[in-house]
Assembly symmetry: C2
Homo-oligomer: 297 residues x 2
């Protein structure tokens, strides 16, 4: 079982294509790779933040203006003020978050930031012409879950909010009623801490370069803050993609969550059909069905 | 909001103690820290594997013989044969797994390994005198969940199995009917890939040194395998704690999942009461209520 072992581990531990010509895709990855152009939607350059860290590595964050309009407006203001340039990633707590911002906590904020409040943690869905693709499986944190405009949402009555899934970006804040400006950000690097849902604003997700954050050394200080000889990771710049020269602008697409391809993707996520899986799960968690994102072809 | 900000981020993004004298613990961490001695059970040295990797860092894995007896027997046989010494961590896939074993796939296995099968992926609970502490919140992957003998379990009828939670350890395998020997192991470093439940044997969990695995550079090869100039992390040794000299044996305890302290811990995990939380979740995911483990006092 020498060659077969590696093949099997391949089948065992990832979504590889196990597919004969003419058969429908057997894995989520194969389905995404073969989905038609009309299953994809361009992501606006106004919604992409390019973070360049020490050494030149880039992390790209997609903002969710439809779900977090006031915080997203502030993040655009902060990026246009180059506020994050010279700040750092200064906290990495295992199975929790990597956090960045002004470690000195003394850097003046730019003018024009909007006031935020707990009302920004969830938004009403009614009268917004947003089509919900329901996820028909139970969730420990919300009565209903699904997908809206390319984003996972948890829902309670008419209220919908972005969940704290892996790679999702939230806004650090002071004790309530402060809801955070958007200057102090973190991303989830472990099991979804859904207890933070509706207690902190989730404003976007990392769509490229996540490993530059998730593989950072964990901090030895309380809550994973870097201390002593542990060096915070300098942030060289954070820019809106739309403010970059055209040649430097990244271009990404997300799968249309109202498309037949996405419906098929969810079915495969919940019921794996490739040879490795003896027993399809019959369900999938909201945070275990990431909306497919790809570089624009 | 300069000082308050750091204080708030502390409250915001971890379980810190926000507690006045005489009040009940307000956070899971505070409750665990103040739980009585009789809420804790020693973990047998026979159930602890000490993995020492390049540079001397140690990762400690707790085995679950009650839930995976045949695979655990094999892992003990492999450790006693020093089989992993000189092997490596050779795959790290972001938001999925870090995997170790014999990258050459040619190292002969020791004698005495038990045959395993799909029957080892879940075990019957009946007639085993195991007390189940139910987790009364819905789960996307199983009709019921709870805790048995210090371990989280998903349940369907009389069958119970260990879930693929963060830090849990599974056995790589070939295509069915092979269920893996236990020589090729991985641990979850991201969102719980519960679709693997009952398709792969889960045999234990990392209880110390997890960051030595989760912060490793991600591999650039297919499925995160290290390739080209990426150097697999040498495994210097893997030993059963009971085979180490007494002075080198680690001693850990896990919270008794039938104790009042654990019941209170679950209630707090589902309903945070400290000042930061405006809106308690009212539920908690099976993989978001890790069984407390501590060094033996």
């Amino acid at each position: 079982m020498i060659r077969p072992l590696r093949i099997a581990l391949t089948a065992a531990l990832a979504s590889v294509t196990v597919q004969a010509a003419g058969e429908p895709p057997a894995t989520p990855a194969a389905l995404v790779a073969s989905s038609p152009a009309d299953a994809w939607a361009d992501i606006s350059a106004e919604d992409l933040i390019v973070m360049t860290i020490d050494g030149g590595a880039q992390v790209i964050v997609q903002l969710a203006p439809a779900m977090a309009p006031r915080h997203v407006a502030n993040i655009r203001t902060l990026a246009r003020a180059h506020w994050w340039d010279g700040t750092s990633i200064n906290r990495v707590q295992d199975n929790y978050v990597a956090q960045w911002g002004d470690a000195t906590e003394k850097k003046p904020l730019p003018a024009g930031l909007l006031q935020t409040s707990a009302a920004d943690y969830a938004l009403p869905l009614a009268n917004r012409r947003l089509r919900v693709t329901p996820l028909p499986y139970p969730d420990a944190y919300a009565p209903k879950t699904g997908f809206v405009a390319g984003w996972p949402v948890a829902m309670d009555g008419n209220a919908a909010w972005l969940p704290h899934c892996y790679g999702y970006v939230g806004v650090g804040r002071n004790l309530s009623p402060d809801a955070g400006t958007g200057a102090e950000l973190y991303t989830v690097i472990g099991q979804a801490p859904r207890q933070l849902d509706r207690n902190i604003a989730v404003v976007g997700r990392v769509i490229d370069g996540m490993a530059h954050l998730s593989s950072l050394p964990r901090g030895s200080g309380e809550l994973g803050f870097y201390t002593g000889s542990e060096r915070p990771v300098p942030i060289l710049s954070m820019r809106l993609a739309s403010d970059l020269p055209a040649a430097q602008q990244p271009h990404f697409q997300q799968m249309d969550t109202t498309s037949p391809s996405f419906a098929a993707y969810l079915r495969l996520r919940a019921n794996r059909k490739d040879d490795f899986y003896e027993r399809p799960a019959g369900g999938v968690d909201l945070c275990n069905a990431p909306v497919p994102v790809r570089p624009a072809p």
